[in-house]
């Protein structure tokens, strides 16, 4: 390291991320999935709700590449449209959870005292409810739609992030470099943003990936119970669960295998990305 030029932190990060083959693979696969889900609907012959009477329970053919479902809709179209919904619900609801959870968790850990008691007990209360029942209740109150499902899953997810960041901030706060920052006269806001958060945020990235996966699965469960995305609109969840009977399971795998595989591949790639991010953001993992 003889050069005196400032190495860009971002380039450094990118270099480290690229060291991890699985992370690259995950990123590529996820990008492909997102692109497919956005672009393909313009080229598909059928929309998600269109019924072709001839495709009723039909196996894959040149007309319907992945066959037809139990009311004659094209499975490929539903898979692509359903991917849009599932990814939207997963990503946006997690984003909502993060936006609520992180500030609350940081506040609780940094200021302690009664703020801490209120926020963390509230988190405990949220977590003590069986979330699926609470979500069912709330969704039935506001009416099932993609937006309500997303918002409800998002709002109910905040304690996971609040607790994680709370624990991390508590431990980072006791580090000597925070005392060092106080000793050189740093302000509270700068201590939080420059010293504590950068050192406490890495596990959150992993949690985000888990939460996106969990939100996608939650949405599937809701769809199954009739409170999620309503047919004829498609989501991977309601495709999986509408194809749940034993005859379909054993004799018509084209109805449930594609959404199942899509779900697994998506969730795996998201997790690989999370692991790659974690390693790349840790300054202690060396390049090479």
């Amino acid at each position: 390291m003889e050069n005196n030029k400032k190495p860009s932190l971002f380039l450094n990060f990118l270099k480290k991320y690229c060291e991890n083959k699985l992370a690259i693979l995950g990123l590529i696969v996820l990008i492909v999935i997102i692109l497919l889900v956005i672009i393909l609907p313009f080229f598909l012959r059928y929309t998600e709700a269109e019924i072709d009477a001839l495709a009723f329970n039909a196996p894959p053919s040149s007309e319907h590449l992945l066959g037809g479902d139990d009311v004659g809709r094209d499975v490929l179209s539903r898979l692509i449209y359903g991917g849009r919904v599932s990814l939207f619900v997963g990503i946006i609801s997690t984003f909502i959870s993060v936006i609520i959870g992180i500030p609350l968790g940081v506040l609780a850990a940094y200021y302690r005292g009664y703020i801490e008691s209120i926020i963390m007990r509230l988190a405990d209360i949220f977590l003590s409810f069986p979330s699926i029942i609470l979500i069912l209740f709330l969704v039935s109150m506001f009416g099932p739609s993609i937006i309500t499902v997303t918002v409800v899953i998002g709002v109910l997810g905040w304690p996971f992030f609040a607790r994680l960041i709370y624990g991390n901030v508590l431990s980072v706060k006791e580090k000597d470099f925070v005392e060092g920052a106080i000793a050189i006269g740093e302000k509270n806001s700068r201590i939080v943003f420059k010293y504590i958060l950068p050192n406490a945020i890495a596990p959150i990235l992993i949690q985000i990936t888990f939460r996106i996966a969990a939100a996608i699965i939650l949405e599937s469960s809701l769809s199954f119970l009739g409170m999620g995305v309503q047919p004829p609109a498609a989501s991977w969840g309601n495709m999986l669960y509408s194809a749940q009977s034993i005859t379909i399971l054993t004799e018509r795998p084209w109805m449930w295998l594609p959404p199942g595989i899509a779900l697994i591949v998506t969730i795996l790639s998201i997790n690989f990305i999370g692991n790659g991010l974690r390693d790349a953001l840790d300054p202690k993992t060396k390049i090479g």
């Binding site: 003889e2 005196n4 005392e179 060092g180 050189i184 740093e186 420059k194 950068p198 050192n199 202690k284």
Partner: protein
């Protein structure tokens, strides 16, 4: 101790008690008396050593006088002003006068900042340099502590222990402080590096007119760098003296025991080692009289009930022990 104008820092009856969490069945509130009534004056330009075993309150004391920990009672006069009554804004401005060097230098540096950023931060907070001056000053500080400017874009984890401590010193010196609390700055380093850092600190003290409170448990290090030495036991100072007096004529039984534990690098010398019996008492429930009562080989009846005041037994030599009280 007579306070005179040359004292940069005067500590009066400083106490820091930590409440011990009591559950609701057990209501009696216990406190850990980490610092329990310390009187001390530090003269401008001197290095005062503060020694004692782990848990005796040395580090708590060092942080309390910097207001990194809020005290329970007492006063700390810095150049005549009681800094314990300062509000937050005043405390922040005080940071440019008083600084701290940490024991674990690695942990005291933000792992996500480069050395340049770390050293630049205090300059920006106190607006000590503008524009290109900032970079120049950072390089100047790095050179001052014996690092060259190629380190400016490195991260703390790329450095050795000694280099990290050099950065810790550079950061502390960035604001041109007058007084530095050195909290065991070399005890985490290996011996060869220790002497380099100690000599650096000695040199800096001369060139920058600094005053040090040097906290340590290593008596040979203290002997090397300090002008005066205070010995602390369980939240109290038991003996304070000029270095030579303390090392040649230790008076408090605890100091004697401490000094007898310094290894001598000569196996042929036979020395009587005072081995203390028992343990340090529980700081939530220290002995009523002398804190050292239960381990002292010279204990007398009154030691159990009366805490000995700290008295002068010689020029620059104060001891808190009944053995040296002439009357009563």
């Amino acid at each position: 101790m007579v306070s005179d104008n040359k004292n940069i820092l005067t500590v009066k009856d400083l106490k820091k008690h930590y409440p011990v969490k009591s559950n609701f069945l057990n209501k009696d509130k216990k406190v850990v008396k980490a610092v329990d009534g310390i009187n001390l004056a530090i003269k401008k330009g001197e290095t005062l050593g503060l020694v004692g075993e782990s848990g005796c309150g040395k580090s708590t004391f060092g942080r309390t006088i910097l207001r990194l920990i809020e005290s329970t009672s007492g006063s700390v006069l810095y150049n005549g002003n009681n800094i314990l009554s300062y509000n937050n804004k005043e405390v922040r401005s005080l940071r440019s006068e008083m600084q701290i060097i940490f024991q674990d230098a690695g942990a005291s540096l933000n792992p996500r900042m480069t050395l340049g950023e770390i050293i630049r931060t205090p300059l920006e907070i106190f607006r000590l340099a503008k524009g290109t001056e900032v970079e120049e000053r950072v390089i100047e500080l790095l050179n001052l502590v014996g690092l060259n400017e190629s380190y400016i874009h490195r991260f703390p984890h790329e450095l050795s222990g000694g280099q990290k401590q050099r950065v810790g010193i550079a950061r502390a010196l960035a604001v041109n402080p007058k007084f530095l609390v050195c909290d065991e700055p070399v005890s985490a380093l290996d011996v060869s590096v220790q002497s380099q850092i100690l000599n650096l600190m000695k040199k800096l003290k001369e060139t920058l007119n600094l005053t040090y409170l040097f906290i340590s448990h290593d008596l040979s290090v203290v002997n090397h760098i300090c002008d005066r030495v205070a010995v602390m036991y369980l939240g109290k100072i038991v003996e304070i003296a000029h270095r030579d007096k303390l090392f040649n004529n230790p008076s408090h039984p605890y100091t004697k025991a401490l000094l007898s534990a310094i290894p001598i690098p000569d196996p042929t010398i036979n020395r009587e080692r005072i081995v203390l019996e028992g343990d340090v008492p529980n700081p939530t429930d220290p002995p009523k009289g002398c804190r050292f009562y239960n381990r002292c080989q010279y204990r007398m009846e009154k030691c159990a009930s009366i805490y000995p005041s700290i008295d002068k037994i010689d020029d620059n030599h104060f001891v808190a022990c009944h053995l040296y009280h002439k009357n009563g």
